[in-house]
């Protein structure tokens, strides 16, 4: 899996640690609906269960998101991917990479794991068909050897889904 071999990751800075502890505390008080934090003692990698919203193509299905935090979180965006199997979606590649602007160029430190989760669920909910992106095979082939989706130059062409 991509994540296990991510390039030598630096430990969280003090600012990042403080912020993540606050985010986690806030999450435990009021988690975003449809999401469940899988308890672990690794603050730098969160695994979150997401359940498809009722009345959508993914109703009742459960997937797992893996969120890795860089040293300078939240100034830098977290890396967010789906663990295998990733949902069939026009913006989600079979290796779990997600084409969503706020995870890359449009990230802002004022966003949180919780707000990212809500965006991802909304992306799932608005999907018109369960299918892979058109360039899935080519993209996944290029991503071998554990390339992070943050190294991809994303081109956000479709804001309908």
């Amino acid at each position: 899996m991509t994540s296990s071999s991510s390039p030598s990751r630096k430990a969280l800075s003090k600012i990042a640690c403080n912020r993540l502890q606050k985010e986690l505390a806030e999450w435990q008080v009021s988690p975003p609906s449809g999401f469940k934090y899988r308890v672990s003692d690794n603050l730098q990698r969160w695994v979150i269960e997401v359940t498809g919203a009722a009345g959508t193509l993914y109703a009742g299905e459960t997937y797992q998101l893996q969120v890795d935090f860089p040293e300078h979180y939240p100034m830098e965006a977290p890396q967010v991917i789906f663990l295998n199997p990733a949902p069939m979606h026009p913006h989600i590649y079979s290796n779990g990479h997600i084409c969503l602007d706020i995870l890359y160029d449009s990230w802002s430190p004022a966003m949180t794991v919780s707000s990212v989760c809500i965006s991802i669920l909304s992306m799932l909910s608005s999907s018109p068909a369960k299918q892979r992106p058109q360039d899935n095979d080519r993209y996944v082939r290029n991503c071998r050897n554990g390339r992070s989706p943050k190294e991809t130059r994303w081109w956000f062409h479709d804001d309908k889904v």
Binding site: I15, E23, H72, P109
Partner: protein
């Protein structure tokens, strides 16, 4: 040097650019009654086009404010004394929190990190917005200066400076390494500009100055010179693969008996590529190979051979032009070094020896500058010639180029060699030191050659730029460009001479006589040209 540059372009130093920016910012902030830093982001957004900015501002101020993220009213600090930072989620008292004029407050440490991350991402930081994803409030320069680290402030200011040059369609950076000037191009036409750093470049394509050839030819030529394909052509034309081990082998003249280098050591015939062991009387002698010659005569030698032959012809043609292009480049660099030497040492020495003030020795500097300029032109005429595929024009072009070449050689030699005799210190007094009169003669000669060469090259550049079509009409002093007949060499050169040095009367007794070869006007008292020694009659 070439023509009258006048105000075709303006070289801007960093200071000039700053002043212009400040002037624009001041103007806009006065006209729109807004703060300086607001004017700055507006100008950046409108690519420093003041008229477009003010048109749109006065048409719909609210819309412009909305797009650029300029809030109308500053938000007062909220009433509560304690606020939570939207990034680190820590609580702070409101006096150590700031917002971009909106009601999203962040602590100063988070602002510093936010700004720093944006600045290290590049010039996009010039339109940095409030961190809140739903808010478009612009982060202005006064915020940057209040909250960023010192080196980030400097980098931000540099981005503004760079944007001013790069956003404008009329300004470009000087491409010379380490030069920090920009050049504003004012008029149309001739794109050659010369920066304060003395680097001459074409403003249009930012390659070095390349008159008389156009930008397209330059990029083709540069691409050709760098292309690996030329090497491939060379290998194809001058080498063959060893028939056994397939390594390419270059034949550097000599007999046809080839021995491949160890470990292969295969012996073969260069012509037919057959094993040498099979060669002897039967194949037409040990050092010839009829198998190849007779096949070649009958025209049956194979396609590879034909291709090799073609490649070799086109390669030889290219090498001809390239070598001359490159050697003029080398001569030019040498001349640049010589100019520096003249400026640094030689003039002072001449002043010492002859007691002539340096201000009166300028003609030497002018000569070198002219040589440098002419070498550049001559160099590019070889790219011109390479791409010229009209037979009649080529012939004519080569004639003009040849004349230019010999004229420049005369000048270059005079500057290089003749000057030396006045610089060599004779401590042993075996020869009489050159007199001031002799130096005066040298001065007349060098200045004369400089001006003659300048004229010739100016006309050459014009003629080549006009595609050699207009030479006839130019020579006759008309501006019509529809002359379609190719003029004869004689008519043209005569015409050129006329144009350079108009004679008012057929009797030259009072004005001196122009030399037929180099066009220098000689006093009527001499019968041989004082510049090139050609006889008057």
């Amino acid at each position: 040097m070439f023509g009258n540059y006048g105000q075709r372009y303006i070289v801007l130093t960093e200071k000039d650019i700053n002043e212009r920016q400040e002037e624009d910012i001041g103007k806009v902030s006065a006209v729109l009654s807004i703060r300086r830093e607001e004017a700055c982001v507006l100008l950046h957004h409108y690519k420093w086009n003041i008229s477009k900015l003010s048109d749109e501002w006065f048409a719909d101020e609210e819309k412009v404010r909305d797009i650029v993220g300029l809030l109308l009213n500053g938000i007062d600090l909220p009433n509560s004394r304690k606020l939570t930072c939207g990034i680190c989620f820590e609580g702070y008292s409101s006096d150590v929190m700031s917002s971009a004029g909106c009601d999203h407050f962040y602590c100063h440490e988070c602002w510093e990190g936010y700004i720093s991350a944006a600045i290290s991402d590049g010039p996009g930081c010039l339109s940095l917005r409030c961190p809140d994803p739903s808010c478009g409030a612009m982060v202005l320069q006064n915020m940057i200066n209040k909250l960023a680290k010192d080196d980030d402030k400097v980098r931000y200011a540099r981005f503004i400076l760079r944007a001013y040059v790069e956003d404008s369609k009329k300004t470009k950076w000087c491409p010379a390494p380490d030069c920090t000037c920009a050049v504003e191009f004012v008029s149309d036409g001739n794109y050659d500009v010369s920066c304060n750093c003395k680097f001459s470049f074409c403003w249009n394509c930012t390659e070095e100055a390349h008159r008389p050839v156009n930008c397209e030819t330059v990029s083709r030529w540069i691409l050709k010179n760098s292309a690996e394909s030329e090497n491939m052509n060379w290998i194809l034309a001058n080498s063959k693969p060893c028939p056994k081990c397939k390594r390419p082998i270059e034949k550097n003249q000599g007999c046809m008996h080839m021995t491949c280098t160890p470990p292969c050591k295969f012996e073969f015939c260069w012509l037919c590529l057959g094993s040498w062991a099979e060669h002897g009387e039967r194949t037409g002698g040990f050092y010839a190979c009829n198998r190849y010659e007779s096949a070649k005569k009958e025209g049956v030698y194979d396609e590879t051979e034909a291709r090799r032959e073609r490649a070799k012809n086109s390669l030889e043609r290219y090498m001809h032009y390239y070598e001359r292009w490159a050697s003029n480049q080398t001569s030019r660099q040498k001349a640049q070094a010589d100019l520096q030497k003249a400026e640094k040492e030689q003039l002072a020495k001449l002043t010492d020896v002859f007691g002539i003030p340096e201000t009166q020795l300028k003609f030497i500097i002018e000569a070198w500058s002219q040589i440098i300029e002419c070498r550049r032109v001559l160099k590019w005429t070889y790219a011109y010639g390479y791409y010229l595929d009209d037979k009649v024009k080529s012939e004519f072009f080569e004639y003009l180029q040849g004349e230019a070449e010999s004229g420049l050689e005369r000048l270059h030699q005079c500057a290089e060699k003749d000057l030396q005799s006045f610089l060599t210190v004779r401590s042993d007094n075996t020869e009489p030191a050159p007199s001031i009169a002799e130096f005066g003669d040298f001065r007349v000669k060098l200045a004369g050659l400089t001006s003659v060469t300048r004229n010739y090259f100016e006309n050459l550049v014009q003629a080549l730029e006009a595609g050699l079509e207009d030479v006839h009409s130019t020579a006759q002093g008309t501006t019509s460009s529809n002359a379609t007949n190719i003029p004869s060499k004689k008519a043209v050169t005569k015409g050129k001479t006329k144009k350079q040095l108009p004679r008012t009367s057929s009797d030259n007794s009072d004005e001196g006589w122009p030399c037929e070869r180099c066009t220098f006007i000689n006093p009527s008292s001499v019968d041989a040209c004082s510049v090139c020694d050609k006889h008057r009659y």
